[in-house]
């Protein structure tokens, strides 16, 4: 701890190391960066220079290729894969994230002009697709090869399932002809593997029914409560050739095989809801996942403002009601207990009454859900309404009377002030701990990111953020803000997986680069993720993917040399080694090896500078940076470094359980 490692800056490094700017200047130009090796005299004459990291011309050429949608009139007609890709294109599939394998399907989807991204592991690509969907609300796909590629995605499919992400999971699945023969290679029964992790799944076995099952998939992806759909393609399906449209069964358009019709609230139910809200003194709307996925933020705003209803956001993404709004309760946890009516809208993952959500035992409850089977689960209701979230909120916006609730709004403001003071107190304690240890406390790192993104020269609405990890994720959630739809991705939502954070933000970053859905106004902006040294392990290689596609990410890695659960070994000292890593690992160096920039910081001032530099380079050059924030594991201990780890109140900022 006593030795202060050298700090890198963009402007320059030690004489023996060239600047990263110099390194990146060569990226894409094909120049040989002989300078990245120390030209030691012994080897200078005989050792060939080490080539620089660069984006191969084959990649840029490939991305510039024109699209090619299959046609029955083409020579040889269309393959099953092309029929499937055309249907996906018709359904506006937003993007595909994959690793090679399931070749015919991914090739056909890419050729069809659907934005496609190839990464380093199937699991991370599934999370990238999940992240893309979380910040856009759109259906996205992931794909892996049969067997190992597919099973690599399992954790990430489970994550998407708990977040109700409309994720289309695609995998090849050998051939029907070789079923049950342990035929080499990668044979497996894949559909049972996702049992409990999907909304719908099917292994296709009849080539001529490929469109029929595509329709099944999109009906489930775009109707009701979203969730992953898993399709397996044996070789007989994707290789089958159709020379005429008549050979494909049930081949009709999406307008015929599914409907955009949505359930509207029964007039009696809507009237009762309006009456209950109007009678309540302190009503709050919990605006869940469904409000975002149905893009219902405008009627939400109108209804809330018309009747002075508090709104708290919840779900795997935030921003569908802006944090800074006077009616936002997302930073006012102390006021939750005052609400006398809670209106859950599109809240798909319901808590129990004693699990974190701090509402009053006497509060009445209305829940609005697009389907009826979940109404009343976990949280007994005074009124359950089957309705599309947008339709219900439009009904409220129309039927609620104008009303002012000054006392309630004042209580929200007071509670926000109290919460912000708590954060400030935690930060000030963190500053002392940081200065005493020459490392960076999590609260200090989070406050710096907060001030940089929302209090400086950057438009506070610009940057999409994500967070994960244990100590840092828990803290970052308290400090990151959402001022517009799709601005904050709650990576560990509900399933609390450690690791998919960076991969998710590669997907979110791709969505921002494309300007998809609510990201249109912020097209091209960098994204930022705060994660842990434990978490980064799982998807760090996707920095290569980010570099390859010029998706600029600032990745803050809180490096406390341990799994966040290390206190679980305190009572059993012989177990402690299993919870710890080598100390002072250099994730920044690893990032450099993957074509990103690396920054190493131990102090508040270093971190502030690193953020500024990284953001500028991300915005101007679309180059990602990993900032390695050196910390101590003991910061999670309330006894040694108060306040230690803090449980976040829910719902609102910091919520991850439901």
């Amino acid at each position: 701890m006593s030795e202060k490692p050298e700090t890198k800056t963009v402007a320059g490094e030690t004489e023996s190391r060239p600047s990263r700017r110099g390194l990146f200047a060569s990226v894409g130009a094909g120049a040989v960066a002989a300078a990245i090796v120390n030209p030691g005299k012994i080897f200078a004459a005989t050792t060939p220079p080490i080539p620089s990291i660069r984006i191969a011309k084959d990649i840029t050429d490939s991305l510039a290729e024109s699209t090619k949608l299959g046609s029955f009139d083409a020579k040889g007609g269309m393959t099953g894969a092309e029929v499937f890709a055309k249907s996906c294109k018709d359904e506006d599939l937003a993007a595909l994230f994959c690793c090679p394998g399931n070749y015919q399907i991914i090739n056909a989807i890419s050729a069809a002009g659907i934005p496609a991204f190839g990464g380093r592991s199937e699991g991370s690509m599934a999370s990238a697709a999940d992240g893309f969907s979380r910040c856009t609300g759109e259906v996205t796909a992931c794909s892996g090869t049969e067997g190992p590629g597919f099973t690599n995605m399992i954790m990430n499919i489970a994550v998407a399932h708990r977040a109700r992400t409309p994720l289309l999971v695609l995998a090849s699945n050998v051939t029907i002809a070789t079923d049950d023969r342990e035929y080499f290679i990668q044979t497996g029964y894949q559909q049972p593997t996702t049992e409990g992790l999907k909304k719908y799944g099917k292994r296709l076995i009849a080539p001529d029914r490929i469109h029929e099952y595509t329709a099944y998939a999109f009906r489930h992806l775009k109707t009701g409560v979203p969730g992953p759909v898993h399709l397996d393609f044996p070789g007989e399906i994707y290789n089958h050739r159709f020379t005429a449209e008549s050979e494909v069964k049930e081949y009709y358009s999406k307008e015929k095989y599914r409907t955009e019709s949505r359930p509207h609230p029964a007039p009696k139910d809507l009237a009762q809801a309006v009456d209950m809200i109007n009678r309540a003194e302190r009503p709050v709307i919990v605006a869940g996942h469904g409000v975002f996925s149905r893009k219902a933020w405008e009627p939400l705003m109108v209804a809330a403002e018309k009747n002075d209803i508090a709104v708290v956001t919840s779900g795997p993404m935030r921003g569908h009601f802006p944090d800074e709004h006077r009616l936002s309760a997302s930073l006012s946890p102390d006021a939750f207990m005052s609400a006398d009516l809670v209106v859950f809208v599109g809240q798909y993952s319901m808590p129990t009454k004693t699990e974190r959500w701090r509402f009053h035992p006497d509060a009445k409850a209305i829940r609005v859900n697009p389907t009826g089977e979940d109404l009343g689960r976990n949280w007994p209701l005074d009124l359950g309404i089957v309705a599309d979230e947008g339709a219900f909120l439009e009904g409220l916006a129309s039927d609620l009377p104008q009303k002012k609730r000054d006392a309630w709004v004042g209580e929200l403001a007071a509670a926000r002030q109290k919460y912000e003071k708590q954060l400030q107190d935690e930060y000030e304690q963190g500053v002392k701990h940081s200065q005493a240890t020459n490392t960076l406390h999590h609260a200090v790192a989070c406050k710096e990111v907060h001030d940089f993104l929302y209090k400086g020269s950057i438009d506070p609405k610009l940057t999409v953020t994500g967070w994960g990890g244990w100590t840092i994720g828990n803290c970052a959630a308290r400090w990151l803000r959402a001022y517009r739809p799709g601005q904050e991705v709650n990576c560990p939502y509900q399933y609390s997986a450690v690791g998919p954070d960076l991969a998710m933000m590669v997907g979110a970053g791709a969505a921002v680069q494309l300007g998809t859905g609510p990201q249109a106004a912020y097209k091209g902006a960098p994204v930022l993720v705060m994660t842990s040294d434990a978490g980064i392990t799982y998807s760090m290689f996707e920095l290569d993917t980010a570099a390859k596609y010029k998706i600029p990410i600032i990745c803050v890695v809180y490096n406390n040399n341990s799994w966040g659960m290390w206190p679980s070994a305190v009572g059993t000292p012989r177990s402690m080694h299993m919870y710890l890593f080598q100390e002072n690992l250099r994730y920044d160096k690893m990032a450099e090896g993957l074509g990103a920039r690396g920054e190493y910081v131990r102090t508040q001032d270093e971190f502030r500078k690193a953020l500024k530099t990284s953001y500028e380079i991300a915005a101007k050059e679309r180059v990602s940076t990993l900032i390695n924030v050196q910390a101590l594991k003991e910061f999670t201990s309330a006894k040694d470094y108060p306040p230690g780890n803090i449980i976040n109140p829910e719902p609102g900022v910091g919520a991850l359980a439901h």
Binding site: E281, T352, R358, H360, P361, S496, P567, I646, P649
Partner: protein, 172 residues
């Protein structure tokens, strides 16, 4: 599912025990409690058992003559001379303070709330001052709920919750 006991005339007699029982049954029906047993009662005293926070068993006593309701162990393992116990007392005091919104506050004209600590086991007692047992029953439930949902969550008690209440450490 609970069914309410009625008299021969079909009208439930408004005794303090019946009133408190009805209030607590109402909370059970709203899933505030995850489990609830009808009271055992004798001579103006009743004992209620419920499964509640952290799925732990809670016991609340009602003494009609003494006009008290008491949760015998709200929190375990809180040393009497600890900072946590001091903070808990301060939290309870704040529940009776004019700074707390009226709809959350304990009305001093109607009830008085006190803590006691025996060997680290913290009890919460509410004394009814105006005979309003419905208010008393609701208020003592509110206070216990706030202790778990606000006091413990907002304070530096993560490790306490893991060690004393069985919080799964993964569930931060």
């Amino acid at each position: 599912m609970r069914t309410k006991k009625r008299t021969a005339t079909g009208v439930k007699r408004q005794t303090p025990v019946n009133i408190v029982t009805a209030v607590l049954e109402g909370y059970a029906e709203k899933a505030v409690f995850r489990g609830f047993s009808a009271p055992s009662q004798r001579g103006g005293k009743a004992t209620y058992r419920m499964a509640w926070h952290y799925d732990r068993p809670f016991e609340m006593g009602l003494d009609v003559l003494e006009k008290t309701l008491q949760f015998t162990e709200v929190l375990p393992g809180v040393p009497v001379r600890s900072a946590m116990y001091r903070e808990l007392r301060a939290f309870l005091k704040s529940q009776q303070s004019p700074q707390t919104p009226e709809h959350r506050r304990v009305n001093p004209a109607k009830a008085r709330v006190t803590l006691s600590n025996q060997g680290g086991s913290v009890s919460l007692k509410l004394t009814v001052k105006d005979g309003d047992f419905e208010y008393a029953a609701r208020k003592i439930v509110h206070i216990v709920h706030e202790i778990f949902m606000v006091f413990l969550v907002d304070g530096p008690y993560y490790e306490y919750m893991v060690q004393q209440l069985g919080l799964d450490p993964d569930r931060f």
